[in-house]
């Protein structure tokens, strides 16, 4: 297998770009919704055959084994071409956790099934009373013989209605002195009588996420990953890379490009007020990219990122929202229309990008939570 890390950055970028541009189906570029697996299965097979399903995993587990620098390039190219991330919860979240904390048996069993998408995963973290304050979660699991018995409910479980398995944080040690203690990381099959999935319709009219109810649902004890009651620290340990990825400029850059071509067709650039606001947004994106490059360089030098990386997410998601709001303004009387607008040879779904931008300031730790983190961990403000 190729050792990608010995390639030059430029060479590697070229290779990744070539593969995406020639192999990724054009009709799936920049999908405005999250696809069900069936919709992207064909692409997933290609990716799997190429061995590119898990760019971050070590090669011994079937990943590409990319270092941080190469990984950033891979994701940048993926976003640039509008390649859908697919049903990547398994690859992004469970896989790395099993690799780091799982037993040999767990690795042998689960990892190949994640890569092939034989199992499709969803993430059971948030609950109605535990969103930003995740450690307050109350879904509990007790041991009965050689099984865990799960009771409670999860919410905002992305694509749970199209998943075969759920990885979840559950309370196994009630009465621990701190709420972060007594939480465990469990894997459970969805296809059983004790699990009930109810899709939630979003503002955009899609069924992206669900409520998942557990009523004496069962999973074998061997599906506990890591130590009992140590799930919280494990889940947190994996977020470091996620935090630069979630602050990458691509979403805002793509939206800006879309805004520009749309605004040209609409003649919006004849309006000096619009021009100034466009320039503001474009400069916000450029200067964010400069800050992103600074953090990326840190990764490339092999340094660990500090809590300050959160500022990328705050800036870029809010900027992304402003851009999609400008798109609505440029649409004028069409600003409330749900289907794609065809103007000249440009087709733009104005509201799709607007809706897509809304949850970005909520998920992955809401921007308010990010501000709390920065104020304490970076600025050293008290209390």
């Amino acid at each position: 297998m190729a050792d990608w890390n010995t390639m030059s950055d430029a060479e590697f970028r070229k290779e990744v770009r070539r593969f995406f541009e020639t192999e990724y189906p054009e009709e799936l570029c920049h999908l405005p919704h999250r696809p069900k697996f069936a919709e992207i299965e064909h692409w997933h097979r290609k990716l799997h055959a190429k061995g590119w399903v898990a760019p971050a995993w070590p090669a011994e587990y079937g990943g590409m084994g990319l270092n941080a620098a190469k990984l950033l390039i891979f994701y940048e190219e993926q976003q640039r071409w509008g390649v859908n991330r697919g049903r990547d919860m398994g690859v992004q979240m469970v896989g790395p956790l099993i690799i780091k904390f799982g037993t040999q048996q767990q690795k042998d069993y689960w990892l190949p099934r994640i890569l092939s998408c034989e199992d499709i995963w969803c993430q059971g973290y948030s609950e109605s009373g535990a969103g930003s304050d995740l450690a307050s979660l109350r879904t509990r699991a007790g041991i009965d013989g050689d099984e865990f018995v799960i009771n409670g409910q999860k919410i905002w479980t992305t694509m749970a209605h199209d998943a075969t398995h759920i990885f979840m944080l559950v309370r196994t040690g009630p009465g621990a002195p701190k709420k972060q203690q007594g939480i465990s990381f469990l894997l459970a099959p969805m296809d059983q009588p004790g699990v009930d999935v109810r899709p939630i319709r979003t503002l955009a009219g899609e069924n992206e996420f669900c409520e998942v109810f557990f009523d004496n649902a069962r999973t074998p004890c061997e599906n506990l990953v890591g130590e009992l009651n140590k799930g919280w620290t494990m889940a947190k340990a994996l977020l470091s890379f996620e935090r630069i990825f979630i602050g990458s400029p691509s979403l805002a850059q793509n939206a800006l490009g879309q805004l520009e071509s749309f605004a040209r067709c609409r003649g919006a650039f004849d309006d000096p007020v619009f021009c100034d606001r466009f320039a503001q947004a474009a400069l916000d994106v450029e200067d964010h990219a400069a800050l992103y490059a600074r953090f990326a360089d840190q990764l490339k030098r092999g340094e660990t990122l500090g809590a300050d990386v959160s500022m990328l997410k705050i800036w870029v998601t809010e900027c992304f929202q402003r851009i999609t709001e400008l798109m609505i303004e440029a649409a004028g009387p069409d600003g409330g229309t749900i289907s794609p607008l065809q103007i000249g040879n440009v087709s733009v779904d104005v509201l799709a990008s607007f809706y897509k931008a809304r949850p970005t300031t909520i998920y992955g730790g809401s921007n308010e939570i990010q501000r709390n983190i920065l104020s304490k961990a970076v600025l050293g403000l008290p209390g």
Partner: protein
């Protein structure tokens, strides 16, 4: 070239910071303001000895020749202590012009050595506004007409004047005390003054003529615009530090006010804005060192100044708000930063102006 060299820039930053701190930090700016609003000629010489003024002048012409990114590092340090010395003005404008037009002129050495300070008079009220457009005339070794918005006019030994000669633009050098030269001072928010100059048959030396003057002026103004952006970034950096210290120590309701979430979130927003500005402006300076197309350099400079002014406006004004009533007093240093920011923002174009310029350049590039 130094501009891409991380460690060398860090060393330069450290030595510039030590030099300014040893001289008295921002306290020195207050003293000089109260003493009449000019700079300290001794400090100019000290900076010159450290090589600061000749940072972008090629080594063969007596400078360090280490590029605009290094100039930006110095400008940031000037901004941090709101030093009134004409550092950016000298690096960017006077030396920026002379090194391009007449690098062998003896004035170069005096400027690099800090023995002479020259203010550049290039703008006029009612003129076209493009670099090189001038109604002020130069003929037979004499200047006649007026120039406006001359920064540093009060403490300078002489003026570099862009005038209209018989065959296009001329760059002329005149002494501040020359016959027929008068300076009308306009006091600025930070206590410095800007000059309105008028000449009537004032003797002057021609340094250069023709379109080269216009071209060099465009380049020098781009450099200076980007350096002024760096000065604003340094200023914002320190204004934010002062404010952060204040909200950590000021107590109300038996707690530091920095423990209140609304204050914390505002502080974070300022911090994010500062980091974006710093990253953006430093990237611009490094790119300008590698870029030769003057139109691209001008557009880059606009990007830097637009970002720096936007950030500094927000940071210095919110800083006053976070200080509460004492923020509105002259006694607290934060006001000095706000006032200096007003002056630097208005100089060579504010954020709105530069966004317009940047966008215009982008459209022209798109059309080309």
């Amino acid at each position: 070239m130094l501009s891409s060299d991380h460690d060398d820039l860090r060393l330069l930053r450290e030595s510039a910071r030590t030099l300014f701190e040893r001289a008295g930090g921002s306290g020195r700016a207050r003293k000089l303001r109260d003493a009449g609003g000019t700079w300290d000629p001794e400090m100019v010489r000290e900076l010159a000895e450290a090589g600061v003024l000749g940072v972008t002048v090629p080594e063969v012409n007596g400078g360090l020749g280490i590029g605009l990114a290094a100039g930006g590092v110095i400008a940031e340090e000037v901004g941090r202590v709101i030093a009134p010395e004409p550092v950016v003005m000298t690096i960017g404008l006077s030396l920026g012009l002379l090194r391009r037009l007449c690098p062998d002129h003896p004035t170069m050495e005096q400027l690099i050595g800090g023995d002479t300070v020259l203010a550049l008079a290039w703008q006029e009220r009612g003129a076209g506004g493009a670099p090189g457009d001038a109604a002020c005339r130069y003929a037979d070794g004499k200047l006649t007409g007026s120039k406006a918005w001359v920064v540093g006019a009060a403490g300078s030994h002489g003026f570099l004047v862009v005038a209209q000669g018989a065959e296009g633009p001329v760059l002329a050098l005149t002494e501040a005390t020359a016959k027929g030269c008068s300076v009308d001072k306009r006091v600025q928010a930070d206590g410095s003054s800007m000059g309105e100059l008028s000449f009537s048959g004032t003797p002057a030396e021609e340094l250069a003529r023709g379109t080269v003057v216009k071209d060099a002026l465009t380049e020098a103004i781009s450099d200076t615009t980007a350096l002024a952006a760096a000065e604003l970034v340094g200023l914002s950096d320190r204004a934010f530090e002062i404010t952060l210290d204040y909200i950590k120590t000021r107590e109300q309701f038996d707690k530091p006010i920095g423990s209140f979430q609304v204050i914390q979130h505002r502080a974070v927003d300022l911090n994010v804005m500062l980091e974006v500005a710093q990253a953006g402006v430093r990237e611009v300076l490094a790119q300008m060192d590698c870029e030769t197309d003057p139109r691209v350099r001008t557009q880059l400079a606009s990007r830097a100044k637009a970002r720096a002014v936007t950030a500094t406006k927000k940071i210095t004004r919110d800083a006053v708000q976070l200080h509460g009533a004492v923020g509105y007093t002259d006694e607290f240093d934060i006001g000095l930063y706000l006032n200096r920011a007003l002056v630097l923002s208005a100089w060579l174009g504010d954020d709105v102006y530069h966004r317009r310029m940047w966008f215009k350049a982008r459209e022209q590039e798109g059309a080309a």
